[in-house]
Amino acid sequence: MPAPTCAGTGEGGAMKRVSRVLLPMLVLALVGGPVWWAWPGTLGGWRSVAIVTGWLGYGLLFASLVTMLREPWLARVLGGLGRMYAWHHHLGVLAYLVLLLHPVALAMEALPESPAIAWASVAPLQQGAAGWLGWAALLCLMIGLGVALSPRLAYGRWRALHGLLALAVVVSPAHLVMLGLEQWLWWMPVLAIGVLFWRVLRADCGLAALPHVVAQVAHPARAVVEITLRPMARALAAHAGQFVLVAFHDGPHFQGCHEYHPFTLTAIEPDGSLRVGIKALGDCTRHMQTLEAGVAARVQGPFGDFGAAGSGRPALWIAGGIGIAPFMALLRAGTVAAPVRLIYLYREAADGAYHDELVTLADADPDVTLVAHASGDGAPDLAAILPEADALAGVECFLCGPPGLVDAAVALLRARGAADEHIHFERFEFR
């Protein structure tokens, strides 16, 4: 995975409350609509369970598909891309579990007749076209989900096999058509395929992305590169605390991975150029350390709004390694309007990206206090580094960094009396 991106939803209170409710409502509509239509009425017992689980599973799968769309406006409305991806994962797993019950319930329905009939109801070798298509969809789900839960698989292979989930969305309506359902049903597969195309064309093929070119390359720390991306056409309307998805293509001596990865903005220049910090954390980001000026790139976004929730109130910023990126952008933008204490943790001096610039910025702004700490190979002594309970009263806490560090720091902040609504962090899993 590339550098961690930290981007809370950050909308104002009313908008945040609306976006909190919109996603469950959308899922409820996508799941509840078909279940309501197909409700088994006078039928009872296991047959009803089979029908309901079938439609419930398909609705969940459909909703999972919708939550993988990568559109800035949709992410804003639904509470952020991180939240959408979390729902995407949970809905996918839930769909699979519910759909596993579908054949089990069919067999249970026939069991009182005889075990042979029960077996014949689900045995793949004793099925006609409808049964075969049902099993094919379930098999696609099984493989696609198994792959989705395998973090060690190479990204390219993971992505190709994960696509089997999309195939399940297409095959399962064919299973329903073979069962004789033809009329009202059609809008669902048509919409599902439309959503699939939307995602593939806009996000994966990059139609939603804007062309940029690498204008400058800097190396602010060991295994960290900061890239300045100059817009070739329209500039993105981004601000500090947001992140973008960038695919680097080819340049004079550089061959890109052509994959979209999320990177937090470290600066937005007046001419619309964007700066992103990239830490070598995987194959592709390691290769990006050799980026050069002139490389073509496409940029999608912006997403998120890290830091906005606390604007105007005293803040504690905790950054680990490349997690300094969003704080760097906020400081460079000069929008800090209240006292800020920045605790910056890294292993060794060579890993402390932007250290000298941070010292200069903190010296120039009396509201900013910098605590830079090189922890060496061991875990940092957070109990000694983080403020005590009385210093946390009325303070908004923002954290960005490796998951282990964020978990430990959040636990300590809670133990020292910081309320959850004043602790802001997000984990991003774009797999």
């Binding site: 014949a120 099925q127 409808a130």
Partner: protein
């Protein structure tokens, strides 16, 4: 459980209850509306349901139904069984006078 999750679960339960009252779903073959249900294999039951659902014309549906009844009566006779004489018309929803 957070408030939004609780609301979602409650709404889902409400929807399920409303569905049980309001919705009827598409026509489904079952023991009560299919002559010879016990004499059919699971695959035949699925095919029968798909056939009945596919008809848009009552006469065509009724013709298929008679053929199905003849086949089931033959199977019943082979096994020395008697099929019920009172039968629900699975094509009734296609009748124009309804």
């Amino acid at each position: 459980m957070t408030r939004s999750r609780r609301n979602a679960v409650l709404a889902l339960l409400g929807l399920a209850m409303a569905a049980s009252v309001g919705a009827r779903g598409p026509w489904r073959a079952d023991e009560g509306n299919t002559v010879g249900w016990q004499l059919m294999s699971p695959e035949e039951r699925i095919e029968h349901q798909a056939r009945i659902r596919s008809f848009t014309d009552y006469d065509a549906c009724h013709a298929y139904q008679l053929e199905h009844h003849r086949l089931m009566e033959a199977r019943a006779a082979e096994r020395g069984l008697r099929l019920p004489s009172v039968r629900r018309d699975a094509c009734a929803h296609l009748r124009r006078d309804r």
